[in-house]
Amino acid sequence: MDLALIFVPLAGAAAAFGWPVNRTRPWLMPVVGAVHAGLALAVLLHPPAAVAGAWLGCDALARAVLPMVSWLFLACACYGVPYLQLRAERDNRVFVGVFLAILGLISLALMAQHLGLLWVAAEAATLATVPLLHYSGTARAFEATWKYLLVGGTGIALSLLGSFCLGYASLHGGGSGDLTFAGLAAQGAGLTRPWVLAAWVLLLTGYGTKMGLAPMHTWKPDAYGEAPGIVGALLAGGMTTMGFVALLRVRQVVDAAGAGAATTHTLLALGLFSMVVAALFLLRTTDYKRMLAYSSIEHMGILSVGAALGGAGVWAALFHVWTNGLTKGALFLSAGNIRRAAGARTQADVAGMMLLTPVSARMFVAGLFAVTALPPFGPFFSELRIVRAGLEAGRGWTVAVFLGALLIAFFGLTRLVFAIVDGRPHAAARATGERYRETASIIAPPLILLAASLWLGLATPAVLREAWTASVNLLLPAP
């Protein structure tokens, strides 16, 4: 069953490349997405038995995040059908094919139990994103793609070097060349320490670039700003989750080798730095799509801080992966609606969207409240747990910086969101607003994601709680 999670989307991608009719091809996305979502639910409810020494397997950590990616994908795929129909003049063969392939590759990366396999999957997913980024075909989109390739490619190269260093640490310590995470962790203190530390620095930089932690975040505002809304949602919810899971798996090995203090401190420092940098940029930015990118950087910082705060922190971070991913999905999709109707995306050119796109504008505001951790939305509860984990760990200063950054981000986000929602629409926007009316098919997906975020916070299902607890037990085994 876990193999089907990888092969169903890849088969769907192959079908999309062979599909002859441009008009009906986008329907492959929701069909494959629905099958994948069903499989993910089955894996969550009936965990498959773990095979020792396997390179691939749906273990507790994969189960704890994969359904979120899958369900977010389904919502994006449903939105993708009307989106691509609006762009009917353009060939969508590559877009649909690559979009489906990315789901398969992210699933592969989340389930990879082998250092090399993880890298190959992450690399392939990074490359597959490229055609999605410049889909709109503008000069700005090509600039964003170039920067994504340059920064992302360097990050990928560094994570390969880090993987090699970790492999060498194992060989030098007398290992047999078993590069599964379980095998490496079992070698524990037998791994050669200088190589382990080098590996951690390189892998943190490499996979941190994938996540978008500051200061490796520079590709993110450009890419999220230029890519279509569904691509932004998939990157912010799926690709970043892949980077985070990769870091958690590597960290398990580095901790086992006895360098736990180093991983904790670096994750904490990078996380807080990302939060502060993102909060400051949020105060300045005038483009509401780039704003979402900075918000994503901030939330990656939150995940990183959570991961550094022991078992309770990791639990809360996994919770936050869900609440942030679903909320970001709702924000990106409603921002896409607003962007189309307004025909522009900066504070100077957009105003009064409450009148032009009433439903999307309200969803955007609700999403803003959710993402800035106002109750009763999901992110409030997950961030509250991170704060509590920080206080229990006795890290008062960390919590202070954490809360300060959240407050500044709140100011930055509300300033921009209300500027584009309130007021009177510009004359040019009235014409485009007439052309792109809100229909049920572009309102329903973000609305469902927003509802899911609300539901997760108010009534977190027991099966998810169990999956997160099992992941914590896997990652931080009791000494």
């Binding site: 090399g116 190959v120 170039w146 492999g167 590069l179």
Partner: protein, 213 residues
């Protein structure tokens, strides 16, 4: 055996300096291509047994790094009909000095880090670090997109050199390095499609400055 190996690795290190010192685009491409071909031969010297997979990796590396990617780069160069100056942000002499300094630093670092006895006599680790630094210098210190791609190629060559340490234990992971080549291929196609050239009327990456805060 080890003598030939070290000779080739030293040749690869020398090519770093050549790439850093070149002021013309074609010679940077040639340096990267030569380095790729030298590296492609190395697995044959390391793997004492002539396993077919080793031959495949070697042939693939020589083909892709020595011919396919440089060929694409040269085609892009002709298609874009840009002037052939490299236009450095960081001058040639400072680049060379930093590159040479990195080489010395890499040899020192290779002496400090713990190595397996069978790797202690080889230049692989220092060459790997020096090549990575040279790649970064080209990536950061040059403005033309094509030179940046060459820098990325050289950076990747450095990582490949390090990967050779693991080839006998885990040959499969080196194949992963070939996948990294695909990154470069995508880079290059990005240039070939050459929308940057058409949209911005230049391949000077300093002109790619619309997106910023």
């Amino acid at each position: 055996m080890s003598g030939t190996l070290n000779l080739l690795v030293a040749l690869a290190m020398g090519l770093n300096l050549l790439a850093l010192a070149s002021s013309r685009l074609p010679s940077v491409i040639n340096a990267a291509a030569c380095q790729g071909m030298v590296l492609g031969v190395l697995p044959l010297l390391l793997g004492a047994e002539s396993h077919w997979l080793v031959w495949l990796v070697a042939a693939g590396t020589v083909g892709v790094k020595g011919f396919v990617i440089p060929g694409l780069l040269r085609r892009a160069l002709r298609a874009a009909s840009i002037d052939r100056e490299v236009q450095p942000l960081l001058g040639y002499v400072p680049s060379l000095l930093v590159g040479a300094g990195a080489m010395i630093g890499a040899v020192v670092l290779g002496g400090i880090l713990p190595l397996r006895p069978e790797d202690a006599g080889s230049l692989l680790v220092p060459a790997s670090f020096a090549t990575i630094v040279s790649g970064f210098l080209l990536l950061i210190g040059r403005t033309k997109a094509i030179v940046q791609v060459c820098g990325y190629l050289i950076l990747e060559n450095g990582i490949y050199l390090f990967g050779l340490l693991l080839i006998r234990a885990t040959p499969l992971i080196v194949e992963a390095g070939i996948l990294l080549d695909l990154t470069v291929a995508v880079f290059v196609i990005g240039i070939i499609v050459d929308r940057i050239q058409r949209e911005f009327d230049t391949l000077d990456t300093r002109k790619l400055n619309v997106l910023r805060e």
